[in-house]
Symmetry: D2
Subunit: 111 residues, 4 copies
């Protein structure tokens, strides 16, 4: 069967998470450059269709600075997004759970 | 509301597409290296949870070889995936449509 | 033979270019998000060792906006860097040449 | 001053390392998919100009398989390359040193 609007909204939400994570994982990041990276990540993803809002928090305090900077991975970021598709609104987020950057759908509602 | 299994399946499908595209876009590719890249892309994505099958076709004949190789972009690939989540099975695919690499849910069915 | 300081400086310069290009190629970008991406790219690369300065110019006016945004590729950016290694200073830049994003060493000087 | 051939060779070597690392870091990898990824990485980089040989070894035994797969990072790979530019031949390699994936020029020789 064709997807419902809610299913299509969840598909779109997933695309944004996969994009954000795999576009930016590996980026050299330090406490001094975290703010510009957060902003660029959020604005990049908000370009994509149906992404009404994207918020990225890089956990500056947890960055490994043994070598002054480190590479961005899931353990250093928290992300939330709002996807709007037709009458459906999907809230999603990513955070570490049990050592794994878990992306999940928080809420699906009709406007 | 919490997502249904079908919505969660679609979310997972989207993650895989975003991952595949943004992990590998930009990879130097030529007719001679397309086969190894296709296989690595498919096997990488099949590592991810709920991805039962991933198939990648790099369109060798269309690769720009003016400089011997080019960078992988959406215009050079066709992708299909099957996601299984609980009792739900989602088929998705990516192909060019109107100059844009369109990722879409083809079918959502209960097993 | 071991590399000279000038050769090591050129190696380091190359690493930064490869990093910048392949980390960020494929990022969704629009005229509205180009400024934050430019800044994040430059600050990310300046984290790397021996990179004294990195400047990124995304060519907003040339971005394809048929679908509102496009993916970042070499045709949309100009980059220059200054690498300092021991007593050696290397200037490098990237710009389009004959349809190909050419990265080159502009100048190698001893301080 | 313009770069010497040896300096240009080292610059080209650096580009390949930055490309390889930042194109593929973050790729989902497991013991079962490591071989196809190794091959795709090597063949992708060998497309680039002046890269005579590229060899990638993903350290299967060290991959974290707590969640069945992990993301490729520098700690899981060893890379060596041979760059030929004019009469110059550069050998380079990447391996972990002190917790950091160190890329270095091993040898610069004239043919």
């Amino acid at each position: 069967m064709d997807p419902t609007d809610a299913e299509a909204a969840c598909f779109e939400a997933g695309i944004k998470f996969g994009t954000l994570y795999h576009q930016f994982a590996g980026t050299p990041v330090s406490p001094g450059s975290a703010a510009s990276l957060e902003r660029a990540m959020a604005e990049a993803i908000e370009n994509q269709p149906f992404c009404a809002d994207c918020s990225v928090d890089i956990l500056d305090d947890e960055l490994d600075t043994t070598h002054d900077y480190t590479e961005l991975t899931g353990e250093y970021m928290e992300v939330s997004m709002r996807i709007e598709y037709g009458e459906e609104v999907v809230h999603t987020e990513m955070a570490m759970e049990d050592g794994y950057p878990l992306m999940r759908v928080v809420d699906v509602v009709s406007r």
